[in-house]
Symmetry: C2
Subunit: 201 residues, 2 copies
């Protein structure tokens, strides 16, 4: 706003909302007004939820998951198979895996990928703690569920090399045609992978 | 999340963030994780900004603007021309007018438009307070800067009728080709209006 049309508190709220992923300056203004209009039903509960999150949310020192207890709900769940650790880049990937309900294992959140160009080295990621978990025994398989990007694959290779001296089996997610996916929209690499890994009908 | 993978505080934060305009369930999850990661630089300041906004933001009883003082910054600014009142549907429209810096007048925020289908009648909008402001004198012109929608125009006609007995001049925004707009993308109504209001080159 060029001219001063409101107190600085509103402008500050808009500026901070605009830093959320998915919100730009325009949608941050709309969000701020929406909050003011829904004062009782949204602004107060959201403020309280943020206060509670600030107070309670911690990073699990075992696996890197975000939770309100350390060790987290997943690490301390005895019904989960602790022989299998799924390595993901981010907590959002852990959530995506859980939504799929494909496996009842434990996790390890790297907190990113190796990226020499961005100055991200092994010590910037939760890699040493993964090696510790494997060395402490009881782990039979490490599934590298990193993204199929260059940095993701670099990170997968690095971890595979690190774990080469251990007894653990290192696996990765299969490549192929996404369920519901149309061939016409897929890149050549995916189609080639799907052909190579074809199965009997 | 099907299975319980984290404490309920995180899920609650995600649910509330998803109620913001522009954020869906997926982007709310990303926003929540972003907040947790940027605890010091974003989550704490945003929580503080919301607390301050809850504490200080009020609706101006004169014009319906959102501010931290009542009367608001605009209503109490002696450098603004109080002879002209710009009537807008929403505070976001007031902000849009201010960004354009086209006029140095005062405002009146209706808080919506008349909408018989949605059960919105004159008593649901800040219309009586507008009539009071005009009757109290000192107002020479009321600019109806409502949206060029059916409900906006219905509202404009209703207000024009209400103010018919007063001395005030009631005007509306001009229709025409948006600056930078391409004719090929404009509807027939806009082109017709632009032709009818054509000016000498
Ligand atoms: Zn954990
Ligand atoms: Zn005001």
């Amino acid at each position: 706003m060029q001219k001063r049309v409101a107190g600085p508190e509103i402008e500050r709220l808009i500026q901070l909302l605009a830093k959320l992923p998915g919100l730009g300056p325009r949608s941050a203004r709309r969000a701020a007004l929406h909050l003011v209009k829904k004062r009782e039903s949204l602004m107060q509960p959201l403020t309280a939820a943020l206060e509670e999150a600030l107070d309670k949310i911690v990073i699990c020192t075992t696996c890197g998951n975000v939770d309100t207890s350390d060790p987290c709900t997943i690490c301390s769940d005895p019904r989960r198979d602790g022989h299998v650790i799924i390595v993901v880049e981010d907590v959002s990937d852990l959530w995506a895996m859980e939504r799929a309900s494909a496996i009842n294992a434990k996790y390890h959140v790297l907190g990113g990928t190796l990226s020499p160009l961005d100055g991200v080295g092994p010590s910037d990621l939760n890699i040493a703690t993964l090696v510790d978990r494997v060395r402490n025994g009881g782990v039979r398989e490490v599934i590298l569920a990193v993204n199929a990007t260059v940095d993701g694959q670099t990170t997968a290779h690095y971890i595979t090399d690190l774990l080469a001296g251990t007894e653990v089996r290192v696996t990765r997610l299969a490549h192929g045609v996404p369920v519901g996916g149309e061939l016409d929209y897929l890149d050549e690499g995916t189609i080639t992978a799907a052909i190579r890994s074809r199965t009997t009908f």
